[in-house]
Amino acid sequence: MKNILSISSLSVGYNKKKVLSNINLVVDKPKLITLIGRNGQGKSTLLKTLTGLIPSIEGELFFKGKINKELSHKEKSKLFSVVLTSPPAINNITVKDFVAYGRYPYTNWLAVKKEEDSLQINQAMELCGITNFATTNITNLSDGERQKVALARAIAQNTPIIFLDEPTSHLDLVNQSELFDLLHQLVEKQQKTIIISSHQLNLALNYADEIWLINNESLEVNTPQYFIESGKIEALFGGLKIKYF
C-alpha cells in the first residue's frame, strides 16, 4: 500500500525566502487533518505549495508514491482537488453547472458528461445537502450554502485528497461546525484524506484525526489529544481559553 501523501525535507516560501523548512511527514491512511497556526506563519503558503500553485524551495512531494514534479496538471487534478479561501469568481451559473466543473478532468474537449459524471455530480450534491438548490443561481445563495457548493465541486472531482484553505472564514459558527461534520463524514464514508487550514481551534481539535501545527518555522504533526495535553496550543495562541466539548 502506497502512502497517500509523503513529504520529505520540504521547504516552502516566496521568492526563495523560507517560511517553513525541513518538513517531513507521511499520510498513510485516510484522515481529517487540520493545519493550524498564527496568521502569517505559512498555512496558505504550505497549502499552495502542496497543491502546486507555487513552487517549493527544496524537498520532494509524493502523491500515491508518484513524485510530484513528474505529474502533469491532468494527473494531479485526479489526485487532489482544492477549495480556496477566495470564492470562485464566477456568478452567472447554476449550482449544478458549478458542481459539474468538478468533472472537467474526466470529460473530453467538448466537456460532454457521461453517465458516471452525472452520477458523481448528483452524489456530491446529495452529500453536501444542496440537491434542492440544483437549479438555483449561485449568486442567490448564502455564504454557508455557497461554501457547501464549493465543497461539492471538489467532491465531484472524485480525488483521494481534498485541500481546503480556510473555508470557514466567511461562515458563522453553525455553518462552520456543519462543514467540519461533513468533512468528517467524507473521511469515514468515502475514505478521503482531507487537509484543511482553519482558525477554528475548537472545531479543529474536536473533529481532526491529526493536527499539523505551525510554530517557529517548523511543522509539528501529532494527534489533537497530544497537543491538548502538552499545552502547546495554549502556549502558541497566548493563553487563549479553549473549551473542549
Binding site: L53, K76, S77, P88, A89, Y101, Y104, A111
Partner: protein
Amino acid sequence: MTSKFSILSIVLVITSLGLFMADIALGSVHIPLVAIVDILLGNTVEKESWNIILLESRLPRALAAILAGSALAVSGLQMQTLFRNPLAGPYILGISSGAGLGVAVFIMGFSVMGISLSSSIWFANYGIVISAILGAVLVLLLLMAAIAKLKDIMTVLILGIMIGSIATAFISILEYFSQEDSLKSFVLWTMGDLSSVAPDSLKMLFFIVLIGLLAAFAISKQLNTYLLGEDYAQSLGINVNTTRYLVIFVTALLAGSITAFCGPIGFVGIITPHIARMFLKSANHFYLVPLCVLLGINIMLLADIIAQLPGSDKTFPINAVTSLIGIPFIFWIVFKNKKIAALN
C-alpha cells in the same frame, strides 16, 4: 439553455441573411433584387455593369464584413475571459498598434528615408497587409516572451497596453516627419476599409479566420475554467501557461489578420461578447463562441449598411460607424441594467 441558444441562433442566422441581402442591394447604383438573385445564382442579367458592381465591389465588401465581424467578436470574447476584464477587446494587447506601426513604417517611414516603394505593383498591393502582419507579430512575440517570465496575467495586460503606447509614440514621430500624401493614406488606413480586401485575398482571409474561429471553439473548455479564476483552472487539470499562449495566438490570428486587411475596426470586439452574454445569461464558451460569431456578423453588416449611407454616393469610414452605433448601445445597456452585464 440549449433551447434558448438554438432559438437565438436561428433568429440570428435569419437576420444575418436579411442584412447580407440588404448590404449588397443598397448602394449608390440601384440594382433590382431580382437581378441580384440572378447574379448570385450565376444567371446573366440585362446590364453588365450590375454584374461588375455586385461581384467585384459589394459582394467582397459584404463578405469582408462577415469575416471581420465574426473574427473581432470572438477575439474580444477570448480577451475578456483571459483577462477577466469587461473592457478588454481584440486590440487590448497592442495588436492593432503593432499592425499600425508596421503600416506606418511602410507608408510613411520609407518615404521619409527617401525610398520609393510605389514602383512595384506587387508591393503596393500587398505591402500594407504584410507590414501590418509583421507589426502585429512583433508585438505578439514581445508578449509571449513576457508571459514566459511573468506569473500574473494582469501584469501581461498592463505590459500589452504599454507596448501599444510605445507603438503609438513611434507612429506619431513618423506622422510628424512624413509628407502630406503619405500621411493622408496612413490616416485613411486607420479609418478602416472593408472594400480594400481584394477578391483573391478574401479567400486567404477566409481560411485564416476559419482556422482562428475553430481554434477558439476548441479551447472553450479551458476558457470555461478560467471563469473560476486561474488557480481553480489549474486545479482542474488545465495547463494555464499553454492556455494563455493559445488564447493570445488565436486572438492575434483573428484580430491581426482582420486589421491587416481591413484596418483597425473598433468596438465590435468589445461590445459583441457583452450582448451575447446578455442574451444567453450564461458565460459558457461552448455557446458564447458561436453566438459571438453570429452577432458579430449581424453588427458588422449593419455597420456596413449604415456606412454606405443608402441613397447617397458617399460612404462613411467603417471605424467611425462601429463606434457611432457601438457606444450608444453601451449607454443603453448601462441605463437599462444599471450596469454592464456581468462578465461571468
